[in-house]
């Protein structure tokens, strides 16, 4: 069984959900899957206007992976230690800022496991980041016990349209 077929099984048993852009004119260039729990948290109806705003912005930010021709280098960040191959999607466009954690199953296929508010993570090298990496690894093992995720930090091997970091330093 390939990793694609394993993903297919997880979709069919309801553990993963594919993100489909809300706007009908948007193309689907890459695949973003959310764990069921994450999907429900992001997409369930929100009562307060503040929450509606927060998660609507998050959805628009998540869809950048799915439909943007190019992706700026600050959008995705490989967490330290890089050899772990765990990435964060940085939704920096609002307060509170949000980080979505996950890993690449294959080129252009990202599996997002969970999210945290940036404020909950503490400083750059706080122990909380390590906990989030472990959380992602644990969730991955539960979803795909027989498969490892991509462990390179070379963006071009992980997704198309990666803008070169060098120009933005």
């Amino acid at each position: 069984m390939s990793i694609e077929q394993a993903i297919s099984s997880r979709v069919n048993d309801g553990s993963l959900k594919l993100v489909i852009p809300m706007a009908p004119s948007d193309r689907l260039l890459r695949s973003l899957y959310l764990t069921r729990e994450l999907y429900d948290e992001v997409y369930e109806e929100k009562e307060s206007l503040i929450e509606q705003k927060m998660f609507s912005i998050l959805i628009a930010d998540l869809e950048v992976i799915v439909n943007s021709d190019t992706i700026d280098p600050q959008y995705f960040r490989c967490l330290e230690p890089r050899k772990a191959g765990i990435w964060e999607i940085r939704s920096t466009r609002q307060e509170p800022q949000i980080r979505i954690f996950g890993a690449f199953a294959a080129k252009n296929i990202f599996i997002a496991t969970h999210y945290k508010l940036r404020d909950e993570l503490g400083r750059k090298h706080s122990g909380q980041w390590e906990l989030e990496i472990k959380h992602t690894q644990r969730t991955w093992s539960e979803l795909f016990p027989a498969y490892t995720h991509k462990k390179t930090s070379d963006r071009n091997q992980l997704y198309t349209g990666a803008l070169d970091e060098e120009y933005f330093r």
């Binding site: 390939s2 990793i3 694609e4 077929q5 993903i7 297919s8 979709v11 069919n12 959900k17 594919l18 489909i20 852009p21 809300m22 706007a23 009908p24 004119s25 948007d26 193309r27 689907l28 260039l29 890459r30 695949s31 929100k46 206007l49 509606q52 705003k53 998660f55 609507s56 912005i57 959805i59 628009a60 930010d61 869809e63 950048v64 943007s68 021709d69 190019t70 992706i71 700026d72 600050q74 920096t92 466009r93 609002q94 294959a106 080129k107 252009n108 296929i109 198309t160 349209g161 803008l163 070169d164 120009y167 933005f168």
Partner: protein, 168 residues
């Protein structure tokens, strides 16, 4: 998604979503354009700052995210890159890409025999045939034609140019 013309009231969550979507699209396009110029003409953030009489840190802040962008920011940045937006407003439903361009079978799926359909239970998507190379080439060609003196460069011209290059 239903047409907003058929609704009495657009939900707040849709309004927030589309505001952010617009910001993200302009932001990603502007940064992609900058990256192309940086590669082809060695343009730097510092040069942009200098041409706009701004602190380089300001350009770094602009490039960090679209949240603080205003229409003036976009205008300034594009002007510094000798560029402008294409002004064309289309219906959200006019180019329904999800049904017309969604790949029937991805490279990986083709190998494994998994067919894709446009539903929420799509099995998986691998390396799409429609990656951004074509788009970037088209952008580069369009800029090249523009620099050669064509004020109005249509997509048809870009396509023709691509065919000429292929066939020599």
């Amino acid at each position: 998604m239903k047409s907003t013309l058929d609704r009495n009231k657009i939900p707040a969550k849709d309004i927030f979503y589309f505001r952010q979507r617009l910001k993200n699209k302009i932001f990603q396009s502007a940064l992609a354009y900058f990256a192309d110029l940086a590669k082809e003409r060695n343009l730097t953030k510092k040069e942009i700052a200098k041409s706009l009489s701004k602190d380089p840190a300001q350009i770094t802040r602009w490039f960090a995210g679209p949240n603080n962008w205003t229409l003036d920011t976009i205008s300034d940045l594009l002007l510094a890159m000798d560029a402008e937006l294409k002004y064309e407003i289309v219906s959200l439903h006019e180019n329904s890409q999800q049904t017309t361009q969604f790949p029937a079978i991805s490279e990986n799926s083709a190998k494994s025999g998994i067919a894709l359909t446009k539903t929420n239970t799509i099995p998986t998507i691998g390396n799409f045939p429609n990656d951004n190379k074509g788009t970037k080439n088209a952008v580069a060609m369009k800029r090249s034609l523009y620099m050669q003196g064509s004020r109005q460069v249509s997509d048809a011209q870009v396509a023709k140019q691509a065919i000429y290059r292929k066939t020599g």
